[in-house]
Amino acid sequence: MRRFRFGVTARIVAVLVVLGVAVFPLYWMFVTALSSNSDLFADKPRLTPDLGQFGVFVDALAEGKAGGWLLNSLIIAVGTMVLSVGLGIPLGYALSRFSFWGKALVTVVLLFTQMLPEALMVVPLFALFRRFELLDSLTGLILVNSAFVLPIVALILKGAIDGIPKELEEAARADGARPFTTLTRINVPLIAPSIAATAVIAFFHAWNEYVFAVTFIFNPDLQPASVGIANFIGELGTPIQTVMAVAFLFTLPAVAFYLLVQKYVVSGMTAGAVKG
């Protein structure tokens, strides 16, 4: 009985520790946002939020355009997610199921693109986007983010499709299904967890992206939150509470999105780990 209690207590403590480690950064952002100037640099930091400072959130939303930035981030992230997953599924399927000349080379090139830092591509892509009049638009950011995240999406989905027995498709074809039907009716439902996982990857990539957003967007009304937060970092000063308030608001949609899809992501990560 005593051993049982000890085990339960240990588990509860372990869960609380893990929860604390995961949640603490978010909590600390919230506390910092709601700290007075004197509390901010006090010898002993304040551990609980000062709710009297709540106006910082109101100011960030009302004066700091945080609402518009978050909406722009949401459009970019969702657009990137839809485009990259939408293109990644047929690409992954083609790489998995079809034999064509240069297939190995295509796979290597896709991997190679993941090794290029964004900063290296800013100048050539800027010139290219200027020619196609894609600068200063959210569409341009969706395209560039999709271009960067598509290879990893396609390769993950290729791996997932590799794990599906070909016999299932052959049976569908025997019933008269065409490749498109086979993909949408047979493969997509079976790789749904992997699709969810890649959707999360694409969403977070676009949600956090900064280098292209800061260079390709001139209109302040079109800036995403990643750039908007950086705008508070001035040459001579930075309003830390405001930065933390906007950063806290910036984190919430991403956390909410992850919580919505996390059960699919976990099963997507383990999909194919054990083959029957």
Binding site: N37, L40, F126, R130, L138, F180, R185, T215, G234
Partner: protein, 415 residues
């Protein structure tokens, strides 16, 4: 039946993609105006400063209210990546119409032909321009910029903690050490590679304040004995643990405003920012107490982008900015900084900020933070020097070896 389902699925997918495309098309920029008003963008990192940014935006509003054909809006580009971002945009034939640059980026941009000559847009001879800073705005007889802000470096000190300011380096160091207790630090400066431009500004005062220089105008002198002496003084303070190590400028300036930092070397623009953070702080300013009275100055020119389609209208804005009453307003916004032309500080201003003459008295001995003779290469040289100095601070190498290495690397860069 199977085919029908497939076509239905295809139609659904097409509709969904069309919907997304329609949504995205609506997300683009509106392009420009069609009502005969030229809309210009003015990029300046100071628009993000908590103290000065809102006031500068109001100053722009005054211009907009005075015009019916030109409108200027603030382009928000974050300070940490300002130079890199704007130079990338300008280099590709786009970017803001008007830019407030720091000197290293200004030199690089004008050397690359990214900045429009101003001679035809603005008749500079009509204005009483401050000669000392203005000389750096002209390259080979061609004017590329007009001073937006000129600001000398001085020593800010917390007057509650330091009743009598130090007048020698030894006093400066001992004051910093005696003040450092608990959560209070005697001094603060930038010391991480992440703040490359800021570290360069800070070490500039130590190098020139100890009789050194980055070049003799023709050759680089990064590892000269005088430079080593100045940077050793900088490193000694770092090693003495009298600064909040790891804290970036934004953090330690907030600490200064909260009375947690005793001294800081900074420029006149900092006065407004400090008051904006804590109006009650009792601080004062004195010349930097180093052996040689020579210090850095923030020179920030306003330039017109060569790729701008509204150069004449940009010239209209600069001419408006140079009008005496608008210069006075700008100077009041910028605090203890100077502007392009000679302006008189009002008795009310001097009463509110009695130390303004300290800044004014430093103008003749202040230098822009560029490498003379290698102006356009300053960003590259800066990177090499800062990397090596930071490596020495972190104990990866000794300071002399770091400067020798910087000298060698920078010489290869400018060869």
């Amino acid at each position: 039946m199977g085919n029908q389902r497939a076509y239905l699925g295809l139609a659904r997918a097409t509709c969904a993609l069309g919907l997304v495309a329609t949504l995205l098309t609506g997300c683009g920029s509106d392009g420009g105006s069609g009502d005969g008003v030229t809309k210009l963008t003015f990029a300046a990192s100071t628009f993000g400063d908590p103290g000065r940014g809102p006031l500068l935006t109001k100053w722009l509003d005054e211009f907009n209210q005075s015009q019916d054909k030109v409108q200027v809006s603030a382009a928000a580009v974050p300070y940490p990546t300002f130079g890199q971002t704007v130079l990338t945009q300008m280099g590709s034939g786009k970017g803001p119409d008007l830019v407030r640059f720091d000197m290293p980026e200004f030199e690089a941009a004008s050397d690359a032909g990214l900045v429009a000559p101003l001679d035809k847009l603005v008749d500079a001879s009509k204005y009483d321009l401050l000669k000392q800073p203005d000389q750096f705005m002209v390259h080979d007889g061609v004017r590329h910029g007009i001073i937006f802000e000129a600001s000398n470096y001085a020593m800010f000190y917390n007057a509650d903690l330091i009743p009598t300011p130090p007048t020698t380096y030894e006093q400066f160091a001992s004051t910093a050490k005696s003040l450092t207790k608990g959560d209070v630090f005697g001094l603060a400066f930038r010391q991480t590679e992440a703040e490359e431009a800021g570290v360069w500004q800070d070490i500039f005062n130590y190098v020139y304040g100890f009789g050194g220089a980055w070049s003799d105008g023709k050759n680089l002198t990064i590892n000269s004995p005088e430079n080593l002496k100045g940077l050793q003084a900088f490193k000694d303070l770092y090693d003495a643990n009298v600064i909040p190590r790891g804290a970036d400028a934004a953090t330690f300036r907030r600490m200064f405003a909260e009375g947690k930092v005793g001294m800081e070397l900074n420029n006149g623009g900092y006065v407004t920012a400090t008051r904006g953070q804590n109006a009650k702080l009792n601080f004062n300013v004195a010349p930097i107490p180093f052996p040689v009275r020579k210090q850095g100055a923030i020179l920030a020119p306003i330039v017109v982008n060569e790729a701008s389609e509204g150069k004449d209208e940009a010239g209209t804005f600069i001419k408006w900015a140079l009008e005496p009453q608008n210069q006075v307003k700008l100077q009041e916004i910028l605090g203890a900084s100077s502007v392009a032309t000679t302006t008189q500080r009002s008795p009310e201003t001097l009463k509110a900020t009695p130390f303004l003459p300290v800044f004014d008295g430093l103008t003749e001995t202040s230098l822009p933070q560029i490498v003379l003779g290698f102006e356009a290469k300053t960003p590259d040289i800066r990177k090499v020097v800062v990397q090596n100095v930071v490596a020495a601070l972190q104990g990866k190498t000794d300071l002399k070896s770091a400067l020798d290495r910087a000298q060698q690397q920078a010489t290869e860069l400018v060869r």
